[in-house]
């Protein structure tokens, strides 16, 4: 179904960006800039909801909504259109991206008040929305890559928003370059996909004259590749999946490419909320789920995804325990939660991953915005050691953040509980398809469960250090002012204005009830109300069943029909319920442990190793960055280029000059010398003739 409104979703923010860049710069009116920016995203939001929920909308019908804008690249058999498509997956994504994006835009109007370059900030933020929605709604890999790089660029520009601060510039550069390493994999993955399938499209759109055979549908009839290391370099589905995952690991901050995300907190807090928590960093998860058909045929790649995801989850959670900057805690928490999502993808629970993406967008955006409200109220103080007791001063911020805290910790009825529990359950019950054995699923579950425990601890620590306890900002604020500041004396924290608190409240509501879109059968008292699963099921491949179903058709046809995904056996339900109980216990134990540890001693010294983030940045510096730089400078440039190549050329040049100088002696102008040379030449000639015999002129 073709609908030209679809392009309005991406072009409205682009227009907003252009207006703010060219007109907002001159108008210098914050109200104008804010209205343009928020209005543009509001248009996107409304159109997205309309196209998703209208009677034959993307979320209601089986066929996507298409909008072909123009043919972008066409060479030989390769074709990449600038065309959008909204199916159930991209529609779901577009909904929460536009809506959460809108709330963050509104919040930012309050947060950024009085900043120099207000117009620039909102132009970039709108440009980000354009890129992100292009990424999500792209109907082919190459356009998705356009959005992918576009969000990276906006991330670069917004992290470096305070461009005169050195650490902001460093962080921006680090983010872009680390993402580029991931993009290397993504681009190669796209190329291999084209090489294997002859297409880069996601959907067959007969209206646009495209072939019915697409990059993804190609894999429907593709055999499942063996679960071996050799499959990774075999050039098939596994190779594609691994390359794509490198891209996802860069964008979504997984080991070993996660290092940019904590530094990215140098950007303004709404940027951290929008880009580095709710939307952009989950693009990697989106891409993997979009390509679930490919991953579903590449068990070895899925295993890698699961292991990296689980490792990232626990690794980042331990670092999060020991951070003192409120935004750094949330950054590591984001990395850890992203690890969960990849773990879910790796065990084939793609829908659970998307579910967690959505709830995470709600509660993490809330927590970041809440921290922004705190930072704003504390006059740009981010160190939790200089906070404490803020609940008295910022009641709305406090109350909303409590819901976010409970949600991320996994306390029942809050959104995070359902999605996290779903991932834990799916990991526990994962088939051996993408794992060497089912024992691995228990191991991965264990890692995820410990992570959940740690999550509850560090979030409790953050809340306690910020909102409870004695008011440490009074005594520290006085001698904190090393640099001359406009404030005099201790500053009273204050609650933020309504433009900031209203988005917080909306997000708090969503963090509380947002989980009810995905209540599993086991916990819903026998009712089938798992909306998210029903919505996404048709567009997501079921790993382990597609291939094995094809392989085992003969075996199962004669006997009972194969057990489908949606039937619920009673043992399964009781196991799921038991595990949900374990999840609740873990969450409560974590909160209790955190409360016990930090309530009385909020400044408890954490292990140095964790506080210094396992020295990963230092290790990268010493093993990669410095060697490359010094080899390039000393080895390639100074020795090879200037020394060897130019040296060789110079010596050739000099030897020619030298030969000329020698030749010059022959023409020194001395008649005796010439006579000697003539004599010598004559003798040589005569000798030669005598040796060869004189030619007879008469012959």
């Amino acid at each position: 179904m073709e609908n030209n409104l679809l392009s309005l979703i991406i072009f409205a923010p682009l227009a907003g960006a252009a207006i703010n860049w060219f007109a907002g710069r001159r108008v210098r009116n914050e109200r104008f800039v804010g209205v343009v920016a928020c209005g543009a995203v509001a248009v996107s939001t409304l159109v997205a909801f309309y196209l998703a929920f209208k009677p034959d909308g993307a979320l209601r019908s089986e066929t996507p909504v298409f909008d072909h804008i123009w043919t972008w690249l066409q060479v030989g058999t390769f074709r990449a259109d600038f065309a959008l498509a909204m199916d159930r997956l991209s529609g779901t994504y577009a909904l929460f991206v536009t809506f959460v994006g809108f709330l963050i835009h509104v919040f930012a109007v309050g947060y950024m008040r009085g900043e120099q370059g207000f117009y620039r900030f909102f132009a970039f933020l709108n440009l980000f929305m354009f890129s992100m929605l292009t990424l999500v709604l792209a109907d082919n890999f190459v356009l998705m890559f356009v959005g992918w790089e576009g969000v990276g660029l906006c991330s670069y520009l917004l992290i470096g928003y305070y461009f005169d601060r050195r650490e902001a510039g460093d962080a921006a550069k680090k983010a872009f370059i680390t993402n580029r390493i991931g993009d290397w994999g993504f681009v190669l993955g796209i190329m291999l996909t084209f090489f294997v399938t002859g297409s880069v499209s996601f959907f067959a759109n007969p209206a646009a004259g495209e072939a019915t055979h697409t990059a993804l549908s190609f894999f429907k009839t593709y055999p499942v590749e063996p679960f071996t290391a050799g499959a990774i370099v075999a050039g098939g589905a596994t190779s594609i999946a691994v390359l794509l995952f490198i891209g996802a690991a860069g964008k979504s901050a997984q080991i070993p490419l996660y290092v940019w995300l904590p530094d990215a907190m140098a950007g303004p807090t709404p940027v951290s909320a929008l880009i580095h928590a709710a939307t952009m960093v989950t693009a990697g998860v989106y891409m993997i789920v979009r390509c679930s058909e490919i991953f579903g045929h590449a068990p070895a790649a899925m295993f890698i995804v699961a292991v990296i995801g689980a490792a990232t989850a626990i690794f980042a959670a331990t670092i999060g325990l020991a951070q003192n900057d409120i935004k750094k805690v949330l950054a590591y928490s984001t990395i850890s939660q992203l690890g969960y999502m990849f773990l879910a993808c790796g065990v084939g629970a793609f829908i659970a991953a998307i579910f967690h993406v959505i709830t995470h967008a709600f509660f993490k955006a809330l927590l970041f915005l809440g921290s922004g409200s705190v930072i704003n109220g504390m006059h740009h103080e981010q160190d939790m050691r200089r906070m404490g007791g803020l609940k008295k001063y910022m009641p709305i911020t406090f109350a909303t953040m409590v819901t976010g805290w409970l949600a991320i910790s996994g306390v029942p009825i809050f959104a995070g509980f359902f999605s996290k529990d779903e991932i834990l359950w799916r990991t526990w019950s994962a088939p051996a398809f993408s794992l060497p054995s089912t024992a691995f699923s228990k191991l991965l579950w264990g890692v995820a469960a410990i992570t959940a425990f740690l999550t509850a601890i560090y979030m409790t620590r953050m809340m306690v250090m910020t909102f409870w306890g004695e008011e440490r900002f009074r005594d520290t604020h006085a001698h904190k002012q090393q640099e001359p500041d406009e404030h005099h004396g201790p500053v009273e924290p204050h609650e933020s204005p309504w433009v900031m608190t209203v988005p917080l409240i909306v997000l708090a509501v969503l963090s509380t009830i947002g989980g009810f879109i995905g209540v599993p059968y086991a916990l819903s008292a026998g009712k089938d109300i798992n909306v998210i699963e029903h919505t996404l099921e048709p567009v997501v491949a079921k790993a382990g069943t597609t291939g094995s179903a094809a392989a085992e058709t003969h075996a199962t046809e004669s006997t009972a029909p194969a057990e489908t995904h949606t039937t619920h056996s009673s043992e399964e339900i009781s196991a799921e319920r038991a595990l949900a109980g374990v999840s609740v216990l873990i969450a409560l134990a974590g909160i209790g442990a955190g409360w016990y540890l930090f309530k009385r001693r909020p400044l408890l010294q954490m292990p140095r190793l964790l506080e210094n983030k396992y020295y990963v940045d230092e290790i990268y510096d010493a093993t990669l960055i410095h060697p490359i730089e010094s080899v390039s400078r000393e080895g390639f440039w100074k020795i090879l280029d200037v020394g060897v190549i130019d040296g060789l050329l110079h010596s050739i040049g000099e030897s020619v000059t030298e030969a000329g100088r020698l030749a010059r002696y022959l023409q020194a102008g001395f008649v005796r010398g010439y006579a000697a040379i003539i004599l010598l030449g004559a003798l040589i000639l005569i000798g030669l003739f005598a040796y060869l015999g004189f030619p007879n002129p008469t012959q």
């Binding site: 972008w72 060479v75 681009v187 040049g653």
Partner: protein
Amino acid sequence: MSHLLTILILLPVAGALALVLYSFAGSRREEHYRWIALITTLVTFAASLLLLKSIGANSAEFRFEDNVSWIGSISARYHVAVDGISMWLVILTTLLMPISVLSSWTAIRKRQLSYYAFLLILEAALIGVFVSLDLLLFYLFFEASLIPMFFLIGVWGGERRIYAAVKFFIYTAVGSLLMLVGIIALYFTYHSFDYATILEAMKASPLTGRAEYWLFLAFTFAFCIKVPLFPLHTWLPDAHTEAPTAGSVILAGVLLKMGTYGLLRFSLALFPNAARDWAWVIIILAIIGIIYGALVAMVQPDVKRLVAYSSVSHMGFVVLGLFSFTELGMQGALYQMLNHGVSTGALFLFVGFIYERRHTRMISEFGGLAKPMPWFSTLFVIASLSSIGLPFLNGFVGEFLILLGTWTSRAVTHSWIATMFAATGVIWAAVYMLWMLQRVVFGQITNDENARLLDLNKRELGLIFPLLVLMLFMGVYPRVFLDRSKASVATIQRRVSSSPAGGSFTTSTGLGSVPTRGSVGSSLVQEPAVGHDPTLPRVGTDPAQAAIPE
């Protein structure tokens, strides 16, 4: 419309003559020279746009042909024409020229007469290179472009200008002399200097393997120096760095394209078998160039030298695409030639802007320019992103097509490994460009002199603006360019990948005198093959294809 190409070549020459004549006028004023140059280059640019009108998609034919006898006794002809490949390079040249003149507006204070005269003569020579279809004429223009550039660097250059100019001259002259030997050898084989005639004659009587091998090397060596391909690149950083801004723009924007254009037009089309044999060597060197150029660019303390080394990296991509022998790769390579002209040209202009203000190019002298020079900084960042290859800017399209072409290439085995290494170039590009931006544009102002710098004036904005518009346009709507070059590139691609339909190079007026097989008498030519043509193995092995009449 007829003789358009001749007019394009002669217009700058006429402008140069006008400059000289004006210098004899009694009331001459120094600042009028640049106006004469500007008007000439703008008129030339406008005239060159007429080329667009009649070259559409799906035609590989040479257009706007002029073909008259030049030196009758050796049957050298003045034969010029354009197809979908050379047309774009001509337009690139004519576009960059007025921009170069404008960039010299206040920067060049001494000997303005000769400066602008050299620029105009250079333009004529460059247009000549891209439109010549006679090898001797091509060689003439190829060498003629060297002389004005030699003086531009040697007279108006930086501190080490003499060294740079001499190095540039000797380096490239050595290469082109080898090419001259190759051209003469071809002449003695086919008794013609005419490109189309030789190609046609080659169908009937192909070169022997050994002859093709040596001729390919002679031509390719000359072009690879020009490109420049690693390890023949060391003239480039010196020449670029010491040249005046306009010289660098033309050098990077157009002169380097002479090399890649020559590879495409001559090395691949004339010697396809040797090109296939040597492809793996060239591809390896191109990939080394991509990575090496980027790594060395990363550690340069001088902005201009950094951009110069980045050219080595970008031109490596072009060569890689050409030698992938796929339509994707070769179209991408042509596109990347244009991209590089636009993006790197723009980067040199930006370096020129700050050099004119601070008279230094050292990165450490700058920092925090975003505050005093917001326009400069914004546009500089955009141009850098284009060079990095950000999608929807021009660089991405070229690099993506080249990499895709390389992956699907059958020129070398394991081409995916080649692609993987080449693709790291996009990471390095981000490293060196962003690092440079961070030290030049962002951060605190550490040097008080920078705080007082003036932002770009109207002239500077005006000259850089067309390039920025092009970057965006070429990124979002490349079809305009790709469609027009498609058929011409495909013709060469089919020939070099030895497909039977390849190599039918036609001109609108038909070919000159095609020598019959009897007239071709040389040891370089294979004995007339009976049965099937050895250059076209697929015809012989596939009966189904052999049955299709050509």
